[in-house]
Every structure is written in structure tokens, then in C-alpha cells.
């Protein structure tokens, strides 16, 4: 083969390889690309990096995943698994090979689902279905809790256990519905509607964890609209903490798990009710003892005031006055009586002195005529039988000329 007139480029292997590398690494398409294929030759050496080959019917592509990205893998890779890998094309110069440096891997089909998810999310968001103003408050103390979930799953058991533990006063109405598969969306919609006719205080819409396909019913437009239309506020607890569904966005509250949904529906627990009750019981007891103490204090205050204004003192002083008066009256009376007594004595003495008996004892005699009883005071009167009265008796005498 003849060399052409214009000399060809002469390069070392390194130079050529570097050139190729530059070409590939400057192509934006190759630097941000999703590649679909089946995993083969999967190898996980001790370094922590992952190596595998992606292939389809006609081609294969060497892939590698650096340790930090490999640690973030959500799924367990297996040979034969159909996946979509995201990354950029690099060149491994020592081997002269190109490879896909993968940073994300998801099961095949997930990408399309995710695109649909984003499209529907944007559309419903634009419609205002996810507006924060639409969110209603969740009652703190629901009497009736509606549950829409599978009648047989662990999610239901978790929620019932949580409700039983936290607030067994609650009544639960379960509207069971399949939570995955083609039948799930219409069944979920129907369950939400019939449940709403029972006027629950809050509805828990829940499902245990699963793959994105398993949770897909909760991204179904019909279900999302039914959630938004629900009369009762809805707490949506689908999958695990990292799973977000459109039902979560439309719900009044998103819970990371079914158990958390049941917890969020029972902000007030039995323990809270007990302490509230004990508080109120203590409060009325305090109040009534306070009231009684107040009344007692009032009474004793009145008692002292009464004492101050009581007529007792006056009674005492009046009694004294009375005693004084009585004493004065008595002494006045005694005086009078003594005076009288003395007077009587005097009169009695005078009387005594006038008593003829006194004169008789001094030797005088009273002579009366026996005939007519007249006292003889003159000689002429002394005639016939007469009685002579002396101090200790009388005797008869007779005048004989």
C-alpha cells in the first residue's frame, strides 16, 4: 500500500488511546446516558467496586461501578437481571477498552414508569391537586378511623396493633382492597368512596413496602383523584420511608410507613388521656379543697369580726351597772330599814313608857268599879266592889266608909 502524498498522522499507542478517550469524553451523549441491557459476568472484588457486562442480543458493554455508588445500590444485582444503568463512557487506557462508569442502576422498565410518574405529577400539580392549601388538619382524637389497605397484609396488622396500643377507644372501619395489580386502582377508589359514606374522622390509606411496580396503584390517576376528593382527611402511608407516591402528594398528610400513618392518626394516646384525666381529677380536688379552705377562712374572719362587734362586752358592762345599781338599791333599802327600825324602836320605847303596866310595876294600881267597869280616878268615884290591878294581877276590894 502506497503512502499518500499527504503524510498520515503518526501516533504512539498512548497518544491514540488518549485521543480516543478525549473524543469519547467530550461527547455529551456519552457522558450522561441510560443504557438498557442484561447483567452478566457480575463480579464484586474486595475493593468494593462492582464489575459486570451489560448485553443485549447483538452487543455487550463493559461496566463498572465505583465503591461509593455501589454502596448506594437499592437493589441486589444478579446475573441475568434486566436493568437500566446510568453513567458515562470512560476509557481504560491500559487495556484499551471503553466502559460505562455506572452511578445508578434500576430494574428495567422503571425508567419509563418514572417518566410517566413525573408527567402525571406535573399535570396534577398544575391542576392544584397537591396544593398545600388543600391539606386539612388531621383530628387529634379520632373516634372513627377508616382504613383502606389489603385485608391480609402486614400493613393492616401493624396499623391495628398501633391503634390498639395507642388509642383503643377508636372504632376502626376497614375497607379492604387489593393494593397491587390492575384491579387495585378501581378497588381502591371504590373503597375510599364507600368508606367516606361512613363519615370517618380520618382515613389511613396504606400499603407495605414493595418494588416501584408494586406501589404503582398509588400513582394511578384515578386513585390520586379519589384521595384528593376524599371528604375525610387522608393519611397516606405507602411503602417505606424512601418511597413517594402521587397519593402521598394528594393526601392531607404523608406518613413514611403504615405504622407511622396509624401513629399520626392518634396524636393523643391512651397515656395522654390518662394523664389528662388525672390532671383534671387532681384539679377538681384542688379546686374544691381550695374552695372549702376559702370558706373556712371566711368563716373564721367573720367569727373574729363578730367577736369584735359582739354584744358580749356591753352585756358585761351592763351587768356591772346592774350589779352596781342593785348594790346601791340594796344599801339604800338597808339604810331605810335601819332608820325605820330605829324609829320603830323609839316609838316602841315611847310606847313602853306609856304602858300602864310599867307604872303598875312602880307601885301604882288601877282601880275599876266592878259594877260598871269605870276607872276610879277620884275619891267620889270609889264605891262598892272594885277591882284593883297591880303589876302581876288583880284583886278585889270593897269601900266601907
Amino acid at each position: 500500500m502506497q503512502p499518500t502524498l499527504f503524510s498520515s498522522v503518526h501516533l504512539t499507542v498512548s497518544q491514540l488511546t488518549f485521543h480516543i478517550r478525549k473524543q469519547l469524553e467530550n461527547d455529551p451523549t456519552l457522558q450522561d446516558v441510560w443504557v438498557e441491557g442484561e447483567i452478566s459476568n457480575l463480579s464484586r472484588p474486595a475493593s468494593g467496586h462492582i464489575y459486570f457486562t451489560l448485553k443485549d442480543k447483538n452487543a455487550s458493554l463493559k461496566c463498572m461501578m465505583w465503591k461509593p455508588d455501589a454502596a448506594k445500590l437499592r437493589i441486589a444485582l444478579q446475573d441475568g437481571m434486566a436493568v437500566e444503568a446510568h453513567g458515562r463512557i470512560t476509557v481504560y487506557e491500559p487495556q484499551g477498552t471503553y466502559q460505562l462508569a455506572v452511578n445508578l442502576i434500576q430494574p428495567k422498565g422503571e425508567g419509563a414508569l418514572y417518566q410517566e410518574f413525573l408527567r402525571l405529577k406535573a399535570a396534577l400539580e398544575a391542576e392544584g391537586l397537591f396544593d398545600p392549601e388543600r391539606k386539612r388538619p388531621i383530628p387529634e382524637f379520632p373516634r372513627v378511623v377508616g382504613i383502606v389497605t389489603s385485608g391480609t397484609g402486614a400493613a393492616l396488622r401493624d396499623m391495628l396493633n398501633t391503634l390498639r396500643r395507642r388509642l383503643p377507644l377508636t372504632k376502626v372501619i376497614l375497607a379492604p382492597a387489593p393494593v397491587q395489580g390492575v384491579d387495585a386502582p378501581p378497588a381502591l377508589v371504590k373503597a375510599l368512596q364507600s368508606l367516606n359514606s361512613q363519615n370517618p374522622d380520618v382515613i389511613l390509606l396504606a400499603r407495605g413496602g414493595g418494588s416501584i411496580e408494586d406501589l404503582w396503584a398509588f400513582n394511578d390517576e384515578r386513585v390520586v383523584r379519589a384521595v384528593a376528593d376524599s371528604k375525610a382527611p387522608i393519611i397516606c402511608g405507602v411503602g417505606h420511608e424512601t418511597d413517594f407516591t402521587l397519593s402521598d402528594f394528594a393526601a392531607d398528610l404523608r406518613a413514611p410507613t403504615p405504622t407511622a400513618a396509624a401513629e399520626l392518626a392518634t396524636r393523643i394516646t391512651l397515656d395522654d388521656l390518662y394523664s389528662q384525666l388525672n390532671y383534671q381529677a387532681a384539679r377538681i380536688t384542688d379546686l374544691i379543697s381550695g374552695l372549702l379552705a376559702e370558706q373556712k377562712a371566711l368563716i373564721s374572719a367573720f367569727a373574729s369580726r363578730m367577736k369584735y362587734v359582739s354584744p358580749e362586752r356591753r352585756i358585761q358592762s351592763d351587768t356591772q351597772t346592774l350589779d352596781e345599781l342593785s348594790r346601791r338599791a340594796y344599801s339604800a333599802l338597808t339604810h331605810r330599814i335601819q332608820l325605820q327600825a330605829r324609829h320603830v324602836d323609839g316609838i316602841s320605847k315611847r310606847l313602853q313608857s306609856l304602858n300602864p303596866e310599867g307604872i303598875l310595876s312602880r307601885g301604882y294600881a288601877i282601880i275599876t268599879r266592878k259594877e260598871d267597869g269605870k276607872v276610879v280616878t277620884q275619891v267620889s268615884q270609889a264605891q262598892g266592889e272594885m277591882k284593883v290591878r297591880v303589876s302581876d294581877g288583880e284583886f278585889e276590894v270593897r269601900r266601907e266608909q
Partner: protein
Amino acid sequence: MAKTSKTSKTSETLETSALTYEQAMTELESLVEALEGEQNPLEDSMKLFERGQSLVMHCGALLEAAQLKVQKLVGETMTAFEEESE
């Protein structure tokens, strides 16, 4: 004031045992307010207190006896729900 008088009216008409937990707790709360609020005659206060105590007993008994009631809604009809044993 109006609330309080309403409370005392219900307390005359309804036995505590006929009240739901929420009714009893609501009445208990307004009763406490009535007790601390106005200057009721002592006899009325004592009555409120006794009523309060019986409300507390009732609430306590309800909490003690509380059991989660679960019913299943199939279509529009309500049936008893049997939990699978674990």
C-alpha cells in the same frame, strides 16, 4: 356563662354512665372551668365536684375497658372483622 349553665343542665339530665368518653371529658373540662371561674354557691360547687368525681370515675373506667373495635366494610355493608391470628 352560657356554656356553664348548659353544662350544669346536662349534668342534671344525663347519668355519667350514659356519656361517651369525649362527652364526659368535655363536660369535666367545662365543669373544672366553672369551679374555678365563678363564685358559685358552695352547695352548687359541692354538687359540681361530686359530678366531676363521677365523671372522672366514668372516664377512668372507659379507658380501662377500652378495646379497639374493628368492623369491615364490604360494599356498603358493615360486618364483623376477624383478625388473623399471628
